[in-house]
């Protein structure tokens, strides 16, 4: 990172640590652009680039108190971005991204419960009660409160990838409980 840019971003974060929202907005937009470039060099045009950028912004928000203005800004920011990149790549090795926000799967669950149960709402409530607290909370915020993944991540302290993984596992568990395969 160019020393002038580093100094500028360092000043912006120092102001943001004191509560300056204007400085913070400028900083985050610049950081998003730098991190996107950094991640694209490593992931190419992958759909994961957005996840890493947003996870990095969230991490910077939560760890902003750790930045020491006496140190350069670049190493601090890129250290966070590097770890978020590793987190996302690691999670993708374990989960298929195509199934994560499986709206069709959720609709199939709704149809199956309405067809097979006299009290479908009660049946669904009982099925949801059998999910883990995190899974239940994430699905409730996604489907009932219509919140975005990023909003849920900010509220729960999970990374964006973790929210998607949690939702995916929740839907999978619901399908098993209800005994109805998801539609393609």
């Amino acid at each position: 990172m160019h020393p002038d840019l580093d100094r500028q971003l360092s000043d912006l974060l120092r102001c943001a640590q004191n509560g300056d929202r204007r400085a913070y907005e400028v900083l985050l937009r610049e950081v998003a652009s730098l991190v996107r470039e950094f991640v694209r060099h490593r992931l190419g045009g992958s759909a994961l680039v957005d996840d890493v950028v947003q996870d990095t912004l969230l991490s910077i928000h939560r760890a902003r108190h750790t930045y020491d203005p006496a140190r350069p800004f670049g190493p601090w920011m890129y250290a966070i971005a590097r770890h978020r990149l590793l987190d996302v790549v690691d999670k993708q090795r374990r989960v298929r991204e195509a199934e994560v926000l499986d709206c069709a799967g959720v609709d199939a669950i709704a149809v199956a419960t309405s067809r097979d149960d006299a009290d479908p709402a009660g049946f669904l409530r009982r099925a949801l009660a059998r999910l883990s607290r995190n899974q239940r909370e994430v699905i409730r915020m996604l489907k009932l409160e219509d919140r975005s993944v990023a909003e849920i991540a900010a509220r729960t302290g999970l990374t964006i990838s973790a929210v998607k993984v949690t939702a995916h596992r929740g839907y999978k568990k619901l399908r098993e409980l209800i005994g109805s395969p998801a539609r393609a």
Binding site: S59, T66, A150
Partner: protein
């Protein structure tokens, strides 16, 4: 989900935070506190009667120095790992492990010249050293974890391992000022063993106790 929406959300959530003290200051302050705790602990337990003589023994001094290096380098690396961008250099990451290996080898190399005395044949004495190490390490260890939790450690396992290794090394050093038995056959299972096991357990403790992901949010002013 567009970046703009997230940026707006984060800006709206912005509150002033109390900046973390410099890594060097945090590490130094904690080290002083730990040394203070150990001094008090050693006084309470009672220093060995021949300590003044042992401090003139080069072998004893070298082994104690190795333990001090394990304590200091592990603490330094642990605190630095807890702050993004302040991670120790590659050499810095190796020093704690190398110092620990050096300490073990120093004791093992003395093995041939010492005999296993009747005193060390009594298991109770050996276990008392283990409890001393554990007991002496608790307060400084808890303090270090509290300090690390306030930072943003991404490598939780390694940070936790270094924290526990540091406190247990210092506790072992303090125990060596209390325990009169310097025989390698006593030190290896009852002093070295607990330190190394604690360091390994620290990896799991770090994952359990240190905040997941980006770290705990900073305090508001």
């Amino acid at each position: 989900m567009h970046d703009d929406e997230l940026v707006r959300s984060l800006v709206a959530d912005l509150r002033p935070v109390r900046r973390l003290c410099r890594v060097e200051l945090r590490a130094a302050a904690w080290a002083l506190l730990a040394l203070g705790c150990m001094s008090v602990g050693a006084s309470v337990l009672g220093l060995r009667g021949d300590l003044a003589r042992k401090l003139g023994d080069p072998v004893y001094l070298i082994e104690s120095t190795a333990l001090l290096v394990v304590f200091a380098s592990s603490a330094w690396s642990g605190f630095r790992l807890s702050v993004p961008g302040a991670e120790p250099t590659r050499l810095g990451k190796l020093v704690p492990g190398l110092a620990a290996v050096g300490w073990v080898l120093l004791i093992v190399s003395r093995g041939a010249s010492h005999s296993y005395t009747a005193v060390t044949a009594v298991p109770a004495l050996g276990w008392s050293c283990v409890w001393r190490i554990v007991g002496l390490a608790v307060a400084p260890g808890a303090t270090m974890f509290a300090l690390l939790r306030r930072a943003a450690p991404d490598e939780r396992a390694r940070t936790g391992g270094l924290a526990v290794l540091s406190t247990s090394a210092l506790a072992a050093l303090c125990t060596q000022m209390v325990c009169r038995n310097d025989a390698p056959a006593h030190l290896l299972p009852w002093h070295v063993g607990p330190v190394l096991i604690a360091g390994l357990l620290g990896l799991a403790v770090g994952k359990l106790l240190l905040p997941r992901g980006p770290g705990a949010p900073g305090r508001s002013a």
